[in-house]
Symmetry: C2
Subunit: 339 residues, 2 copies
């Protein structure tokens, strides 16, 4: 009897889903945090035409690949990249074991809270910090360290865990695409093993669909147990021209949709746009310093070393017909905790 | 009315599936090309206990990762790796554009059909052949070259396309695992961009689930169009200790089942075995020279430079309780075209 009731229920649900399918007006808005406008419309139309078998723009489910930058596209990247905040915290935590750091740059700058000297140490200095904080342990130990940090660290402005600082409209977009048989990937300049411990819970993206920068690892037997040790040596930088390279290396096919927010995403969007058939290229533009941050230097907003969006990138986006998302105008809600 | 009939039909099918589920004897054999025996039994039991929610060995679907070597595990690797046959054919095809190859080794050996001199050129010689035949074109052009080769090349003994020389029992195993929500990956020493053009059609494995060795690529704009050019430089060797490294880099979690056939798979099986919970490690042993090939040097079979399976690997497999598949005894049928 219960079997019959369950059947009846699932028939009713199937009928409701079917009605929603043939009459979209009956379906709930899949992107409730997006304000009505050309960008929301572009997403809805792209999904409609690529999933409708009778459309000339129909895309086979196997080819529905959508790639997303992470920092500044899916979550906050100011006042600094989350991973940099992690690296600085790690350097502070490890300092007692490294007395020489008190007198050696760039470590001294971190311990003194001297961000000006730290910035002056440039890429070389940042690389030293990353190697000191990200290498020298097994992959398992690093995962534990990252998870513990995510559980305790708080963003300086929002006073919340970084994992709560994801953009609600983008999470809705990820879910909407997956509900339409798109496979969603992260393609980020951030560290692949820094992101993987949180992407499944936060974005619904499993580790094997996360592409990022990496350091080399080495297989060793320690105490009779195989481990992968993290070496202080760059393996791959997944930024700028590295993004199409990473997409090809990890996914092996070209995305039909790509989402970014900075100069580092330009080549990923170019690579996506160059394929045949329907395409969707979007850039998130941070123009809302009330609810989040505003930076460019495109359109006269202040320059930023984190997520730089140059005027040249803005010009290219407009010339190429890529959609530029205004956080202020397009997003009714930015964070899940917003009212 | 048709709707009602279809519903009735699908209810009947659902009922049949449900009956099959509660009474496995009613279900069709998912591995018909496998002979009854401890290896077939090990597979069936592993899948049963990892997918049964009431079992202490239950594995969450997200963690059902199974990795497969390709050459010698999923398809034929004798008398030489398929990719080497491709490289030699490419050198012959490109020779008219390289008159110097007539007098330069290892190219001269290829053009003369002098396999002894070719073998004597060792790894360095092979690498030169690979670079000459696999680099210098865009990823798209290389894909076209590979597809055309697969369409025309024939195996010297079986006189069939290489894509027909897959092992039927292993294809059934891939399908059986996927039907039980396992995600199947290839983890091969072979070239990633050599395999991807055929893995979906032949194994049902999409390009993003193929891990292999690779050369570097570089993003360039050519004639206003972005391309990825293949450079004559090694990026990653996915063999031996490289296999766990590749698994971590691409998948980001540890497999619960791994399948190989040679010394090159040892570390992948060790890495898989070292995880907590139920595990399945299997090695295909080539001991059937009537229907395929027989080589070791384990168990006194002749040594082979392609897919070497040493006595030490056999000893480790037996000591560790890994399953060693005898092609002669465990497989009722090897190829799809076998009677």
């Amino acid at each position: 009897m219960q079997f019959v009731l369950q059947r009846h229920l699932s028939l009713t649900l199937a009928l409701a889903a079917w009605l929603a399918l043939i009459n979209p007006a009956l379906a709930a808005d899949p992107l409730p945090s997006w304000n009505a406008g050309p960008n929301k419309q572009a997403i809805l139309e792209f999904v409609k035409k690529t999933t409708d078998r009778s459309s000339p723009d129909y895309v086979d489910p196997a080819d529905r690949i959508a790639t997303f930058d992470n920092d500044g596209t899916l979550w906050v990247e100011h006042p600094m990249y989350t991973q940099l905040a992690f690296a600085l915290d790690r350097v502070r935590a490890l300092a007692p074991q490294h007395p020489d750091w008190k007198t050696t740059q760039p470590f001294k700058a971190v311990l003194d809270g001297d961000m000006k000297t730290l910035a002056a140490s440039g890429e070389k200095g940042l690389l030293e910090l990353v190697m000191a904080s990200h290498a020298g342990m097994s992959t398992e130990d690093f995962e534990t360290i990252v998870k513990e940090w995510f559980a305790t660290a708080r963003h300086p402005r929002f006073k919340r865990p970084y994992t709560e600082l994801t953009y609600k409209p983008m999470v809705e977009l990820l879910e909407y695409l997956r509900a339409n048989d798109f496979k969603t990937f992260i393609v980020s300049g951030g560290g692949i093993e820094f992101m993987r411990p949180m992407t499944e819970a936060v974005y619904g993206i499993p580790p094997e669909q996360v592409i990022g920068s990496s350091i080399k690892t080495q297989f060793e037997i320690r105490d009779g147990k195989p481990v992968l040790m993290r070496l202080p040596e760059i393996n791959f930088i997944d930024d700028k021209t590295g993004k199409p390279v990473g997409i090809n290396m990890y996914i092996g096919r070209r995305p039909v949709a790509a989402f970014g927010n900075s100069n580092g995403d330009l080549q990923m969007l170019e690579w996506t746009a160059a394929g045949d058939g329907a395409r969707l290229m979007m850039l998130v533009f941070h123009d809302d310093d009330k609810r989040e941050y505003a930076y460019g230097p495109a359109d006269g907003l202040p320059n930023s070393p984190f997520g730089t969006f140059s005027q040249a990138t803005m010009d290219q986006a407009r010339k190429s017909g890529w959609n530029v998302i205004s956080m202020e105008n397009d997003w009714g809600r930015i964070f899940d905790f917003d009212q």
